[in-house]
Symmetry: C2
Subunit: 161 residues, 2 copies
DNA sequence: CATATCAGTTCTGAAAAGAAACTTATTGGC
DNA sequence: GCCAATAAGTTTCTTTTCAGAACTGATATG
């Protein structure tokens, strides 16, 4: 299976991974969320091979996650910014970071704290149910075919319920 | 840079990605959250090469995300289950899936619906602030050095604030 | 006019993935 | 007893992708 074909799969995770399901891509996005915008910033901070960085920035731009805009002419220099679609990835990246804070940090603790500007507190993100506002745990969620479901693509245990 | 070294990086995202930052790994975890446990189930549903699957299951087990347990002796057959550490990845995977539902689904809509068993409603997960319970958007979060911070590892714009 | 900056591209060897056959242990049918 | 089937891998071989380093091109600076 080629990863480019994943965007035609009937699975939102596969479709998402066809865009961001790559280590370097996610690391580049982390830098974007920390305010980085320029090619050399990404390179210096990540230690990524330049052609891989160029490739990831191009793909993210084509996918509409980043936009490329000139920040100066003569010589023309471009920078990359998150689009609204890109900014929407924040919960996913925050969830991954928090899992690392919790399960992969040493005794020292989390390397970064996040402060919610609007309330002023150091915070964690908590996934809650849009309907009852209670925190979500995996065992409390059941899956059903949705409007975009394709026959045969669901696992037997989902169909059976 | 080798990805195996990422777990020693001073960045929780890098540390997380050293464990789950691989397309196949995340697809395997999706199957785990859908209730799959056996080697052949993973293989049949994902179309993954067998030695790649064996490698990912081994790494996830070593990382403590899955546990291997025999579901029968003679012949001995093993299955893989999510540990608590693995179940903790649910918010991250849900966030990725929902991004796909929102930005990558066709006109047909999301392939799956998720039902919150405890309240009975079809739901989305919403990332809210642990302190004020308001939904989190990227622009509303500021980063500060945490207890596990390492000098020089923070971007200039974080140090400057 | 040599050097520096920034955003890339090109080249080459190494690592990882894909496809398919092979292995091991055991049960069930003929 | 022998053959096929099942499940969970392992091995082998080929193709693709990746990492590292050097090179390019437009412009500004000393």
């Amino acid at each position: 299976m080629r990863w480019e074909d994943l965007d035609r799969e009937c699975c939102s995770l596969a479709r998402t991974l066809s865009v961001v399901g790559d280590r370097w891509t996610l690391m580049v996005l982390r830098e974007c969320f920390l305010g980085m915008r320029r090619f050399e910033e990404f390179e210096a901070r990540l230690g990524i091979a330049r052609h891989v960085l160029a490739d990831r920035l191009k793909k993210l731009t084509e996918a509409g996650v980043l936009t490329k805009r000139a920040y100066q002419e003569r010589p023309r220099r471009e920078e990359y910014r998150l689009t609204d679609k890109g900014l929407d990835l924040y919960p996913a990246i925050l969830a991954l970071v928090q899992w690392g804070d919790r399960h992969m940090a040493g005794e020292a603790g989390a390397p970064l704290l996040r402060v919610h500007k609007s309330c002023g507190h150091a915070m964690r993100g908590v996934m809650v149910c849009s309907e009852c506002n209670e925190p979500i745990v995996a065992r409390d969620v059941r899956v059903e075919p949705g409007p975009g479901a394709v026959e045969g693509a669901l696992p037997a245990m989902v169909r059976a319920r």
